[in-house]
């Protein structure tokens, strides 16, 4: 904006002040710029270190198992045979379950808070939801073990089995700790992120949009669905990606609730395992070099999965975002 103004205005008088304010540099500015550049450069360097370190740590396992590591389901530290398929599967499925539950709920809350809730309610509720994000994940895990699992096992799971038992996802014995329990706790954990960001994005939709829609005869509901949400859709996607990123990497609460079994099962009542949980569980007591290397390989794959999922999501946003206004800046 400053450049635009300057272009239109007559050239400023070149007096003792020298070049125009934005082009002026002093010694302090140069130092400041250098510090900022170093700070910005630190991030890619750190990332590169991370990748190199994971790769060197994993090279034993990479050499032995190659790409077969991704498709194999064996995890036998005694025989030093390792495969990560159940871990990758568990990571993706638990995150998908989390999003399936969390996205509609948090979007609903965000729309309610920006469009329908009484003014006095908006700030306090948003604040409380923000507080959910501050709870440490081990506390979520404990709450999950003591409160959530008993509820799920006694009421929710049997209900699902009775009602939807014809689907393979809701069959088999009910233990409590399961893929579904992990998905539910993840949903609760990612909700505050999706909710807060979508709320900000919805707030950023200009009021003229709402007014125009209402003026054309839309009800409040129609205005939200046809105008406000589409206007903010790229920002909302961004919120979902943020939640997904958190769900993919969440470790403590998941390992406390997922049952930790290296197995691929169709039923969501069956225990599963995630990549992050396996690393957290086994790293400290892994004695053999191959075991450690396999865990580093898993870490590398987790990194790769996260990058792939995020890249895919960015691409999606980029395609959706063309033509939409508010919120594309929120990314």
């Amino acid at each position: 904006m400053a450049t635009a103004t300057r272009a239109e205005a007559p050239p400023p008088p070149r007096s003792a002040a020298g070049p125009p304010p934005l082009e002026r540099t002093s010694h302090g500015d140069r130092v400041f710029k250098l510090i900022l550049t170093l700070g910005a450069a630190a991030i890619p360097v750190l990332l590169a270190f991370l990748v190199v370190e994971l790769w060197t740590g994993a090279r034993l396992a990479v050499a032995k198992f190659g790409l077969g590591f991704v498709t194999s389901s064996v995890w036998d530290p005694v025989a030093e045979q390792f495969g990560a398929f159940p871990l990758i599967f568990g990571t993706l499925i638990s995150s998908v379950i989390a999003l399936l539950i969390a996205v509609p709920l948090s979007l609903g809350v965000a729309i309610y808070l920006t469009e329908f809730a009484p003014k006095a309610l908006r700030q306090p509720v948003a604040f409380l939801i923000g507080l959910l994000a501050a709870i440490p994940s081990v506390v979520y895990g404990l709450w999950g073990i003591f409160v959530l699992i008993p509820i799920l096992r006694k009421s929710v799971f049997p209900l699902l089995r009775d009602g939807l038992g014809f689907l393979p996802f809701f069959q088999g014995p009910i233990y409590g700790p399961s893929m579904l329990a992990a998905g539910v706790i993840l949903a609760i954990m990612v909700m505050p992120y999706i909710m807060s960001v979508s709320r900000e994005v919805l707030l950023a939709v200009p009021n003229t949009q709402r007014e125009a829609s209402l003026a054309l005869g839309a009800t409040r509901w129609e205005a939200v669905i046809t105008t406000v949400v589409p206007y903010a859709r790229s920002g909302i996607f961004g919120a979902v990606i943020l939640g997904l990123g958190r769900a993919l990497g969440e470790t403590m609460a998941v390992t406390m609730l997922i049952g930790n079994r290296h197995e691929v099962a169709a039923s969501l009542f069956a225990p599963g395992y995630t990549m992050a949980a396996a690393i957290a569980n086994e790293f400290s007591e892994a004695v053999g070099d191959m075991h450690l290397s396999a865990l580093a390989y898993v870490a590398f794959l987790l990194f790769a999965v996260t990058v792939l999922v995020n890249a895919g999501a960015r691409l999606l946003i980029w395609r959706v975002a063309r033509g939409s206004g508010a919120g594309s800046n929120a990314l």
Binding site: Y175, T255, A277, F283
Partner: protein
């Protein structure tokens, strides 16, 4: 995994205590989490008495062995002894010093039984944890428990999901009593479990067992005693039914035949003594046979001598760790030299 990050963590650990005004440089150690509460108490008591501070990080046995091998700590600690290969990596310059004893108990959730304790032998446990016996009223379990009305209930196996010394001791025992277990599963800090759910830590296993009727799991003796959990009686190698207790664990160590030349890397699961509890094990500190820093080696040995005195071993019993039997203490003292 990475020498780099482990070093970084250790350095951080070394720096912190150095911030608080200095007398003598502290000894550093790292390793097993199982004896950590006791080690913390010992190191604290020892620092009060002698002024020698010992800085211990409970990062797990695997990490303890690694850091000891890399020389980033003055001593290591582990629940499972180093393998011959690992000892070769430090050119044999390591000595295993047993400090106390730990034990693993089998706990279960069968409210129908009331307070009647269940009885198992090792082979039966292996069958259950392999998923070959799936019902509580299986006639082989009933055969070991005459007069107990066992319910027609599915058995749910619960094991540790995190790598742990507890799992090592338990699977070491099962490998000794069941050839099938030895060939299909084996023993390690984490294994490929044929069946069941994984709980994180003693508390994770305990919760899972408490919440599911028909569950069976294994936890540390100290944890089970502190939480008043139902524990199974086990038939030991001599054929006697033994209730897990500190005395029975010490008895297991006393009955293990140690040759005077032993390097103390002995497994005492399924020990032969008539009063021995079968799932018992040493936990060890790893020190150099010949260190480069003589002051530090002297300090470590002084501490170890103090640790073997009755006063320190009594502290162990207070925290539900089984003390070492007296003949073994004498053997260790002799080996440490004066």
């Amino acid at each position: 995994m990475s020498t780099l990050s482990i070093r970084a963590i250790t350095c951080l650990g070394l720096l912190l205590p150095a911030c608080g005004g200095e007398q003598s440089p502290a000894l550093t150690g790292a390793g097993a989490t199982f004896p950590n509460p006791l080690y913390a108490k010992w190191f604290d008591a020892y620092a009060r008495k002698t002024g020698v501070r010992i800085n211990y990080q409970a990062i797990g046995s695997g990490g303890g062995i690694r850091q000891f091998t890399e020389g980033t700590v003055d001593f290591g600690a582990t629940d499972g002894p180093m393998t011959d290969q690992q000892i070769a990596a430090v050119h044999g310059n390591v000595m295993h010093v047993p400090t106390v004893l730990g034990a693993v108990v089998v706990t279960y959730n069968l409210p129908a039984l009331g307070t009647t304790p269940l009885r198992f032998d090792g082979f039966m446990l292996a069958e259950i944890f392999m998923g070959r016996v799936t019902k509580w009223n299986d006639r082989r379990i009933a055969g070991l428990n005459p007069g107990v009305a066992l319910p027609d209930q599915d058995i749910l196996v619960v094991h540790r999901s995190d790598g742990s010394g507890t799992t090592f001791i338990f699977t070491d025992y099962l490998s000794k009593v069941s050839p099938a277990w030895k060939t299909t599963v084996g023993s390690a800090t984490s294994v490929e479990w044929p069946t069941g759910l994984g709980g994180k830590g003693n508390e994770g296993v305990t919760q899972q067992v408490k919440q599911s009727v028909g569950a069976i799991g294994y936890v540390e003796l100290a944890y089970a005693l502190a939480n008043h959990m139902p524990v199974a009686l086990l038939r030991n190698a001599a054929g006697n039914l033994i209730e897990p207790s500190l005395k029975a664990v010490t008895g297991a160590a006393a009955s293990a035949k140690l040759s005077p030349e032993t390097d103390f890397r002995v497994s005492i699961t399924n020990a032969p003594g008539p009063e021995a509890y079968p799932i018992s094990s040493f936990t060890w500190l790893l020190i150099h046979r010949q260190g480069t820093d003589t002051t530090k080696e002297r300090q470590i040995r002084d501490f170890l001598h103090w640790m073997l005195e009755p006063e320190a071993q009594r502290m162990a019993a207070d925290l539900e760790y089984a003390p070492l039997p007296v003949p073994l203490i004498e053997l260790v003292q002799q080996r440490l030299g004066s």
